[in-house]
């Protein structure tokens, strides 16, 4: 990728071995985002499950909690779609 960028920029900069190495490593670490998100989201999911299983064990509040989380995330994603469609009417295509 870096190799390609240097060539496209046509700046006369030779592609160094370091750049090539960085490029390789970046390609190899293409899934690092999943690791990062697993590290972030994993504990949040565990703590959220712990909160729902906490005494007193009623299922009404956890159900409300899960329902509202799903509702909010769906609303956010839908608002992305709605905003995109609305902005298409404003922005010259």
């Amino acid at each position: 990728m870096i190799d390609l960028l240097f060539r496209l920029s046509d700046l006369g900069i030779p592609v160094s071995a370091i750049a090539a190495e960085v490029s390789d490593r970046q390609t190899m670490s293409g899934n690092i985002g999943f690791v990062v998100l697993a590290i972030i989201v994993g504990p949040v999911v565990i703590l959220t499950i712990a909160s729902m299983l906490e005494h007193p064990r009623t299922f009404r509040i956890p159900t409300l909690f899960i329902g509202s989380v799903i509702l909010l995330i769906s609303a956010i994603i839908s608002s992305f779609a709605a905003a995109g469609m609305l902005l298409k009417l404003v922005i010259p295509q």
Binding site: I13, G30, F34, T48, I61, P62, G84, L87, I91
Partner: protein
Amino acid sequence: MAAMMRRPEPDRTTAALLRPMLNTSRAFYFLIIALFIPAGWFVYAWYLQLIQGLGLTSMRTPVGAPWGAYIANFVFFVGLAHGGIAIAAAIRLLNLTKYTPVARIGEVLTVISLMMAGLSITIDMGRPDRIFNIVIYWPQRVGTSSLSWDVTVIIIYFTLSSVYLWLTMRKDLVLCAKRFPKLSWFYKIFLVGYKPDEEHKIERMSWWLSIAIVFLIVMLSGGVVPWIFGLLPSQPGWFSALAGPYFLTAAIGSAIAAVIVVSGVLRKLFKWQEYIKPEIFKGLGTFLGIITLFYIYLILAEQLTMRYAAPMSEFLISEKLFQGEFAPIFWPMLLLGFFTPAIILVSQAIHPQWFGTTRTILAAGVIVAAFWVKRFLIVVPSLLRPLLPFPEGSYSPSWLEWSIVAGILASAILLYTLFLKVFPIVELGEE
């Protein structure tokens, strides 16, 4: 729910805490109009930007800064979003009950700040009409794009914070439904599935969720947001393992400062001196003073590294701040925006007789403004001097960018004011 509809006279405390909802003065309407003007101007300015493009801003590429005031605003609002929820979490986890009166003030600040952060980033997009592509291409991008991580974690944080606010507010909404029968239909929407015995379960759930939220705060402002900058070796001044702690400290500092300011303003406006006591400002002020001094230390560590034996590109970015075009805002920010208020706040902690609530609020206000400037100085100078051999650029936000930044702030205050009119901003307790 029928039993809920009986309308007992609220006791004095409840009546005082419901003051923003019970009384609507002429000043309120003036405030709303005063906020609508910049908010409306912001909509017009954004409309202009949408139809004519980002060329109306001062952002330029490849010579100049492709990111500017909007991204500084985004980082600022994400940081601001941590105060209230952090305080609310600390109250639960560390049993700091004396701060309970300001917990919800900050929780609402969290939710509104996150909305404004999202708005800032949307406005920065060249083609916001393609915003849904974030969702469509998420599975392909999330493996490598730190921006995708940001979107994911901010959505999770926003969702968790909003649901946390809603759950902890339910018992107060019961009181509101009793007190305001005309609006009871509205409160009933938020009271879906309500039963009087739910409070204990919510309290226990909130305790666990507090830990999750504190963890998310660290991973958002000390993780995915700084990693947008800190993981890029191509930008001198950004590439640093220090980025995480640096941003996290700024986030907590600016957020606590904002909670102090908002609590101080509400306390004065609604005569809540009896409920939001000076001890709260004293405690938060001391913490803010210490964290601001720690932030100054981080600035010192960063600048020393950039000036001692760093690559020339790093040194030149530092020079821009020390003696270059950004020196006129860097030094006032450091000395007047951070150092002086921090010394005032810490001095008050050492000599309790020097403590003043107004002084603490003013110092916090100055620190909030300084943190916005700092975000600007993180984003812009580095972009003006890229490693690639392009000529050096310059950047100063255009009138349109200032209009949008001011309009976003006005919209945030407007939303907060409307929330105050409909929901209790301080926990009501038992009636």
